[in-house]
Every structure is written in C-alpha cells, then in structure tokens.
C-alpha cells in the first residue's frame, strides 16, 4: 500500500453521469432532467461550472444559428456549408440533426436572459455572417450554468475525472467513472447507468508559438486537456478523423478572433506590401486539391494555405486592413467589444503595443494546431446517428452513443460534425441527454455494476505521482531536476516538442511524412514509458499530471490517424509531404481507430462518407 492509499473513497450513484460542465455538458444536463424527471442526473466538472469550458471567458457571437423562423437558412444549407469547409468529409446525418434543433437552443438562451443584438430595421437577430448572430455574451456561460444547476440533481465541481469504469457483468458496457477532488484529495467512484462525455478538446498537444508566460494564451483554452478523447479511447471506443487538426488564422499573439472583422466590419487581409495574395496561390492550390478550391466560401484550410505560402515567399507579415473600417465609430466599438467579450488578451496585447486599429493595420498569424470537434474541424468519437434517417451503418443504438454501450458524447467529444460552436455543442448535449434517458429507461433491471478490483487499482494509479514525488524529492537538495520523476510541465513540453517537430507543428510549417511520423511515434512510446514516473507535489500538480496523460492519449491517436491517411486532404491544416495531393479515389472516407484495452493494440480502418444531402 502506498503513502496515499488512505485517501477516502466517496461513492456517487446516478442514472446519468455528465462528465464536463461546459456547453455540451450543460445541454446534456438540462435535457436529461426534462425527459427524466425521476432520474438522478449528476454533473462532474474539474473546474467550476459557473466559468468552465471553452466559453468561460464569454463569446461575442453565436456561430451556429439557422434562422428558420425567418427562412434565412435551412438545416440542409448548414450541412453543405460544413461539408464544403471540411473538404467533403463530415457526418451529414449528425450535422443535419444539430442544425434542425439548434434554433430552439438559441431561443432558450434568449428567454433565459442572454442579450442577443437585434437588427433595428428588421427586428431579427443581428447577423454577423450567414450563420453567425451577435450577442453581448460576457455572461453566456454563467447563464447556461444557471440552467444546468437547476436541472442537475448534484453538481460536483473541482473533480478531475481520470478514467471511465466498465461493467463487471457485460463486456463493452460503461458503468461509471473515477476521479479525484482537486481540493481535498478524496477519490470519487461515480456509478452510473449511462455516461455522457462532454469534456474538452485539446490545446497544448502541439508546441505553441509562445513558450514563456504566454504559453497560456493559446487559441483554445489551456484547460481543454483532451479528456474528450482520452476517456473514450481508453475503454475502446472508436474514434474518427483524429488527424483533422485545426490551425487558426488569428490576430498575432493574442489569437483574437477574426470572424466579426471579416464578416461584419468588412475588413480584409493583405501582405506586407499592401497586395492581395490569395489569388497568387490559386493555381498551385488547384493542383493539390482540384475543384475544391472553387467552392464558395473558400474552405478555411485553403485560405490558411495561401497565407502560409505568402509568408514562406517572404512577403509577410500578413495584415488585417482595419484602418478604413475603424473610422466608423460603431465599427470601432464592435471591433474592441468583440475582444473584450471573448478574447480579452488580444485587447491587452494591442494596448501594450500601442496598436489602435484605426491607425495601424494589425498583424495576423497562423496558430499552432489544435484537436477538437466543434469548430472548423471534426475530430472525435464515432457515434450512432439519429434514429429517423441516419444510414444503417451509421446507426447501431441510441443517438450519440459511441461504440461502447451506454457511453454517449457531445460537443468536442463527437467526431464528424464540424461547425457546432457553442450553440451546436449545447444542442448536441441536449440530443445526447434525451437519448441517454431513453437508454436508461430501456435498461430496466439490467443495470451495470462496477468492479471493485478495477476501481481500487485505478485509485493506486491515480495517486502514484504524489508518491513518486514524495519519495524522489528526498533524493535531491532542491529544484526541479530529479533522476526519479518528471514534473508534469516537463512531460508536457516534451510532448509538445515531439508533436511539433514530427507530427506537423509550426516548426515544420505543418508538414510531416511517414518517416517523421514513425520517429514521432517512437518518441511518444518512450514518453508513455516515462508517464508512470510523473511526480506531483500537490493536488494541483496531480491535476496537471492527469491532464498530460489525457493529452498523450489524444496525441497518439492523432499521430496514428495522420499516418493512416495517405493524402493531404486539408492543406493549411497539415501536409503529408509524401502524399502531397488530395486523393478522392482512395481517401474520400472517414478514418476510424480503435484502441483495444485488452491487448493494447490499435486498429485502423476506413468508413464510407454517405452524402445524404445533395
């Protein structure tokens, strides 16, 4: 028995366990309660749901709203848009499902008190672009959290979930999860009939541009630690499109968003010499991806590609031309409030560098890659589609159930459904919540049981880093260098370096190939061997250890998927230099992976892309 084996174990029983209290988790909680009046619905969150998840800081726009009440868009239109942006590969059944429900979520937000801007002439929501509406969203998350708190039976804040638990009586069925309290160190065993993974995607698996203090100013939140993927992967759920990482063109250093600038303020980009550059690269892009370059709007990755090539040609920095638009006081106000509402750090950068966009056209930059499932990208778990129309091979159970029985997901967790954003993630949570209620009611007396040996073993594993530190710390005088343990920040920096240099990060201009991926995998394997030697000084560092563990699981999946897809599908996101062109003959398909928890082996396969919308 280790030094920390005496930590108290707390058991929490529920019908539905929601892991992660961000937008998709709050949606799942609300809907679970609406349909399951008599069910026990428990939310577990590593931070505080009042300000957790990707929207903790607020948002200035809702990027997924159809406007069906005014006949602005139909769900089919959104599927076409997302499909086009992702170079043809999305789960159209899942995307349509979100699009047909999403307006009702937005109408609920407005009723709850979210200030949505209105067009003074029409009285409709103020459009920023075809899909975006503008909001005063500083309290977007606290408002949604209030609804979730009122729906949940219990909310457990400051508990980091580390592993899922499997059913003792039946293989491939989930029975709960374990984690620890970051505040008092208690071990938590959550026993549940259904589990909804609504955790976050992955920042910090690729080395960020800023590696000092500024490493925290990643585009996606530093607390998005890939639990969305690590939890399902470890129990053998199939994952899809994990190679489809995203790179963002954003304002330099603060990663302030450009959407409102392009769409509402009508600003545009130019190279360092004041010239448009996208047309320069048209022919070479056409050579790589064929007709996809002619699609409108031009896919996000291809616009990145033109940016990158222009900078490589020596005509950077690329700038956003703001001086004209910012002469209009309304536009100036929108430009600043846009940052203050969702990326305050960009306002800090501009104030510190005396950048007033009225006088200076600010620089843009292409970010390091991120892995997530709700923006212009769609990594995540392979999920069952809606019962009323999903193709038969996309349907094996309840809507949004993964390939593990009783295990549901939403938001960043579910793959193939790009352009969900906040409203779509909340909506997908609602879809998963309702499906989970049906699943629980259908279970009847056939309830899953947790395995005592399994959670006791996990308890030892979870606290081992504290023991490693306690023992190893006595070997050295002081400082951070130990022959016996690695600190989580040290492991994280090694991970980021491997992914950056071998799997398509910024230092290679997002380029990789089979030999680089093979070497990257060898180094990842050695990192994995070192992970049992991580050391945690306290509970906060123990959280960092488990965040790192989750990031490594996601990174391995990303690397294996990138190796499997022998083409360059999304130039501007990443390049397989040994297969530099898009290849619709062999690769107009989804990539699927499954980690076998019994053998430790990974299996890759292709799955067809069904185009159910013309």
């Amino acid at each position: 028995m280790g030094l920390f084996a005496s930590r108290r174990t707390v058991f929490v029983d529920s019908d539905i366990l929601v892991i992660g209290g961000g937008f998709s988790g709050c949606g799942a909680t609300y809907e679970s309660r609406y349909w399951g009046r008599d069910l026990k619905v428990v939310v577990v969150e590593k931070a505080n749901i009042e300000r957790s998840g990707a929207v903790a800081q607020g948002l200035y726009a809702i990027n997924c709203y159809m406007g069906m009440q005014w006949d602005e868009n139909q769900p089919e239109d959104h599927v076409r848009y997302a499909r086009n942006d992702l170079m043809g590969l999305v789960r159209e059944d899942l995307g349509y499902d979100i699009a047909r429900h999403v307006d009702s979520s937005v109408h609920m937000f407005e009723e709850w008190g979210l200030p949505i801007m209105k067009d003074e002439e029409t009285g409709r929501y103020q459009r920023e672009g075809k899909w975006q509406i503008m909001i005063h969203g500083e309290s977007y998350k606290p408002i949604i959290a209030e609804a979730a708190r009122k729906a949940a039976t219990e909310v457990y804040n400051r508990i980091m979930v580390t592993h899922l638990l499997m059913d003792k009586t039946r293989p491939n069925r989930v029975s709960g999860a374990v984690g620890f309290s970051v505040r008092n160190g208690n071990f938590y065993v959550f026993r549940a009939k259904a589990v909804i993974v609504a955790a976050g995607g992955a920042s910090h698996i690729f080395k960020p541009h800023s590696v000092g203090e500024g490493m925290g100013r990643t585009w996606y939140a530093p607390w998005s630690s890939a639990s969305a993927y690590a939890l399902p992967i470890q129990v053998g759920a199939k994952m899809t499109q994990m190679e489809n990482r995203i790179v963002l063109t954003r304002f330099k250093d603060g990663y302030g968003p450009v959407g409102a600038y392009f769409l509402h303020l009508k600003t545009y980009t130019e190279n360092a010499y004041g010239n448009d550059y996208e047309a320069t690269w048209y022919d070479s892009i056409k050579e790589m991806v064929g007709d996809y370059v002619d699609h409108q709007p031009v896919p996000t990755c291809l616009r990145n590609h033109a940016f990158l090539e222009e900078v490589k040609a020596g005509r950077g920095p690329i700038r956003m031309v703001t001086k004209e638009a910012f002469r209009n006081p309304h536009k100036e106000q929108v430009g600043w409030e846009n940052f203050l509402g969702m990326t305050i750090g960009q306002a800090v950068v501009w104030a510190s560098q005396n950048i007033d966009p009225k006088e200076i056209n600010p620089e843009l930059v292409m970010s390091e890659p991120y892995v997530m499932g709700s923006h212009a990208t769609c990594s995540g778990a392979w999920a069952s589609g809606p019962e009323d129309y999903a193709p038969s091979d996309y349907q094996w159970g309840y809507n949004r159930m993964m390939t593990v029985e009783g295990l549901f997901g939403a938001g960043d967790t579910i793959g193939g459904t790009a352009h969900k954003f906040s409203s779509g993630s909340f909506t997908e949570g609602r879809i998963a919540g309702k499906a989970a209620v049906r699943y629980v009611k259908d279970l009847g007396g056939d309830q899953p049981r947790v395995d005592e040996t399994e959670y006791e073993n996990l308890k030892t594993t979870v606290y081992q880093p504290m023991e490693n530190y306690e023992v190893g710390r006595n070997e050295i005088v002081a400082g951070t260098v130990s022959p016996s343990y690695l600190l989580p920040i040290q492991g994280l920096q090694r991970l980021e370096k491997i992914m950056d240099e071998y799997v398509g990060g910024t230092s290679t201009n997002y380029l990789t190939n089979e030999p680089m991926l093979t070497r990257g995998m060898e180094l990842l394997d050695m990192l994995k061997e070192d992970l049992p030697h991580l050391g945690a000084e306290d509970l906060h560092q123990l959280q960092r250890v488990w965040e790192l563990q989750h990031r490594v699981w996601a990174s391995e999946s990303v690397t294996r998927h990138t190796m499997f897809r022998e083409e360059t599908r999304w130039p501007g996101y990443y390049y397989r230099a040994d297969h530099p062109n898009l290849d619709d003959t062999d690769w107009h398909c989804f990539t699927l992976s499954r980690y076998n928890p019994g053998t430790g082996e990974w299996a890759m396969e292709k799955a067809p892309v069904h185009h159910i919308i013309d």
């Binding site: 309660r33 609406y34 009046r37 590593k46 931070a47 505080n48 300000r51 903790a56 800081q57 069906m68 009440q69 349509y96 047909r100 429900h101 307006d103 109408h107 609920m108 709850w112 008190g113 200030p115 500083e138 408002i143 609804a147 009122k150 729906a151 400051r158 970051v182 800023s210 000092g212 203090e213 500024g214 925290g216 100013r217 990643t218 939140a221 530093p222 607390w223 250093d253 600043w336 409030e337 203050l340 305050i344 750090g345 800090v348 950068v349 104030a351 510190s352 560098q353 005396n354 007033d356 129309y389 193709p391 909506t427 879809i431 309702k434 209620v437 906060h540 959280q543 159910i612 919308i613």
Partner: protein
Amino acid sequence: MPTFVYMTRCDGCGECVDICPSDIMHIDKTYRRAYNLEPNFCWECYSCVKACPQHAIDVRGYADFAPLGHSVRVLREEEKRIISWKLKFRDGREKNFVSPIRTTPWGSIKPPSDYEAPGPDALKAQELSHEPGSLHIDALPALSPQ
C-alpha cells in the same frame, strides 16, 4: 503575469480560487492572500478579476510579447447587469466600453422540471424539450431515410 494580486487589497476571501477555470489562483500559505501560482497556464480570461470583491486582481500582459505600461481594467456589476471596461495604452491613450450582460434577473431561469412532464411517446420522437414550439416554426424538419 498575467493575473497578479495586490497585497494591500486582497483579504484572502478565496473567490478567485473558487472560480478560476485553470485552478491557478491559490492562497499563499505565508501571507494568507491569493496569488497566481502558474502564470503560464493563465488564459487572461479575467474570471478571477471579475469575481474579486476587493478589486485586488489585475493583469499584466504576458511578458513574452506585451510591453509594460498598459492596463485593461473591468468592473462587472452583476445586479446592474452591465460590464464596464477601461483600456489604457502604453502611450497613455484610453478607451472605455460598457455592455449589457443579461436581460433577466439572476436566478430567474425556470428549471426543466417545472414544465409539464412529456408523455412516454414523446420520448421516442425526435423533438427535444419545448420543441416544436421553441423552434418558432411549425414542425421539426426531418429527412427521409434513404
């Protein structure tokens, strides 16, 4: 760095510790006041700055790229349901912005269980809570199975 706490203003209440999404605001054991123990995991999300009753927390932009001399201050008045920002540039220029944050009283959201319970058939249908009414169209759109 990026957030930091003024010694003379902090009373150690722990609101920032409770709210920080990154778990980096902790109470210093010697001074019994809050501090940012891991600035390189700070997103500058300002959750702690907004939550601090003493206005003891401020932000100094990331040293990697933010020259000194700037400030971005915020006052979030929950009861008035507004947020006010004051930006000060390194060269002294100022900008001020005020925005609404909510249109309804805090705590006013009706719990889902206060609505009439749906029947068992509705659970099998595709409509989510409050639909189709909340869609503001007649019926939930659907595709035909192929």
